[in-house]
Subunit: 145 residues, 2 copies
């Protein structure tokens, strides 16, 4: 499978857009950080390599990466949007501790199949879904204040 970088280059040229040093740096930095990053956090990382970069460019590039199907946007309901590199990765959902923020990636075939079935029952063609499970992890559950 193509690397995310190659996929991005391909996507850009298809749209008559250009691969630039800034875009390359932003994607490379994102891939290095295997995390659920907010635009601001990614901007901070990128600035360490190229302090002249503007945060508008980070927002714009994230938008492009989502359109290109290389990155997915997440929603942990913590006030900022978050992203993760999804290219070449298996789909998964998230189990989140509301106290400490611990975040576990989960995947359940039974659920995924039922989601498809439910959509079909209603005549829908499913394009994607979001599922977030919120609760307390074992550590935080014990010392519940």
């Amino acid at each position: 499978m193509k690397t995310p970088q190659d996929a991005f280059t391909t996507y850009l040229s298809e749209k008559n857009l250009k691969m630039t040093p800034q875009r390359r740096l932003i994607l490379d930095t994102f891939i290095d950080e295997k995390q659920h990053l907010s635009p601001e956090e990614l901007y901070d990382k990128v600035k360490k390599v190229d302090p002249s970069i503007g945060q508008a460019t980070v927002y714009r590039t994230l938008k492009l990466l989502v359109e290109a199907g290389i990155v997915e946007s997440l929603d942990f309901a913590d006030g900022v949007s978050r992203y993760e590199v999804s290219w070449g990765e298996e789909h998964h959902d998230h189990l989140i501790c509301e106290r400490c923020g611990k975040n576990i990636e989960i995947l359940d075939d039974v659920i995924e199949k039922r989601q498809e079935a439910i959509a079909k029952e209603h005549g829908f063609t499913l394009s994607h879904h979001k599922m977030y499970l919120y609760g307390l992890c074992s550590k935080c559950g014990r010392k519940r204040s």
Copy 2:
């Protein structure tokens, strides 16, 4: 079971807060509209009855209603927060058409049980979850542009 209004009154007095005409009007209006309302939409409805009401009061009251467990906040990824009255209603999730906005409430026992099981496997105590299925409804799917 208590009505949402009674539940709200109870909650307020427990917290040494007061039931006011504004709060009563906001909840009554919300209950009349069996919809997924945004704060702005609710504000517009309420203003028709009492034009002197402030939108800060709508935001504040919605927050209280969520805390009281009478209302739930939703996230349809359309740029605004949305709410629905959940008191006395069965939990459900949503199936959303990305083209026309059609919104179907769904509930699947298999999924709900698996969610609990997954959380347990990871030592989590689940407090709640969000699940949104996005796609195209039968109408919009046919005339795909």
